[in-house]
């Protein structure tokens, strides 16, 4: 399964981990937040960004949904695996951090279903 490590300094504070795959959902299997050298607590949100199809009641639109919130203290490192087993991402898997921090390192692994 694919994985990616990134520091949380992306412009606009959103970091893309996995692009949408049309015929599958993304199933995150691991999120590890290394904030040991972070300058402040890392407040991270897992964001699902997808485009809906036109339906009977609505036109096609880009939509986001927050799927998980994590608050990792300074000098801490948190790993989540079992907590993610029921999470599904319909579109693009993104992480959003409250304050950009080059010392906050996030690793995400995922699979497709």
């Amino acid at each position: 399964m694919p994985s990616l490590t990134q520091t949380m300094v992306a412009p606009g504070l959103i970091t893309v981990f996995a692009a949408e795959r049309g015929n599958a959902k993304i199933i995150p299997s691991l999120i590890m937040v290394d904030n040991v050298l972070g300058a402040q607590d890392a407040i991270i949100t897992v964001v699902d960004r997808f485009t809906t199809s036109a339906s009977n009641g609505a036109a096609a639109a880009v939509t986001t949904a927050n799927r998980l919130g994590i608050n990792v203290s300074m000098a801490a490192c948190v790993s989540m695996r079992d907590e993610l087993k029921d999470m599904e991402i319909l579109g693009q898997l993104e992480l959003l951090i409250g304050t950009a921090d080059a010392n906050c390192i996030v690793t995400v692994a995922w699979d497709f279903k």
Binding site: N23, A24, K25, F50, A54, S55, N56, G57, L90, K113
Partner: protein, 208 residues
């Protein structure tokens, strides 16, 4: 023309092919309309096959639906053949999710309805949305159990894909395998060939 195959109650060894194969026989009933005279009441042997997988996917909001037209209409998915000597055996399975699918052929007429007045599927009804609707577990993506048979110019088949309540959005993935079958006409089949043939009924025979 549309069949939902039940879960197998027994297994046979060696296994039996799920799809039509080269050399198999098919027979179209007399109920097929005169406009479809190339197949109406006729008997064929499968000369060649080719399996083509294809996925259709839509992310839809809760309590809302989208009609997916399988025909070759401008907004359709183009899953109908263009040649009169081609039969498409299309099998359909669903990836898991909180959605239902209702079948309409032609566009305004539900395939599954009951005899009492008003017992027609309706996506806007809290109860009738479940009438005749197929759930993903009825025909899993990896074990497709819904079979459809299309020839050139048959009326459009519409799948009404409805996201049920209790979820914000759902990604509905419809997995198709199109078994392209080239038909070879047999003018005078013998009794054994007739016995072995798969009978392909017109949709009006299914909705009695």
């Amino acid at each position: 023309m549309i069949e939902l195959k039940p879960t197998p109650l027994a297994t046979v060894s060696p296994g039996v092919p799920k799809l039509l194969q080269e050399g198999y026989y098919v027979r179209f009933t007399e109920a097929w309309p005169a406009e479809l005279s190339p197949v109406r009441g006729r008997f064929f042997q499968i000369a060649e096959t080719n399996e083509v997988p294809y996925d259709v996917f839509h992310t839809l909001p809760t309590n809302d639906y989208r009609d997916v037209d399988l025909s070759n209409a401008a907004s359709g998915e183009n899953l109908y053949p263009e040649n009169v000597s081609t039969l498409y055996e299309v099998i359909l399975g669903f990836k898991p999710g909180n959605y239902l699918t209702q079948f309409f052929i032609p566009a305004t007429e539900a395939l599954s309805r009951l005899e009492a007045p008003g017992m027609n599927p309706s996506p806007t009804s809290a109860t009738l949305r479940y009438l005749g609707a197929r759930k993903p577990e009825d025909s899993p993506y990896e074990d497709k159990r819904i079979f459809m048979y299309f020839v050139k110019n048959v009326e459009p088949t519409i799948l009404r894909v409805l996201v049920d309540t209790g979820i914000d959005f759902e990604k509905c993935v419809l997995g198709f395998t199109v078994n392209k079958c080239r038909l070879s006409h047999i003018a005078a089949p013998n009794a054994e060939q007739l016995r072995l043939a798969k009978v392909i009924r017109y949709y009006s025979e299914l909705r009695w």
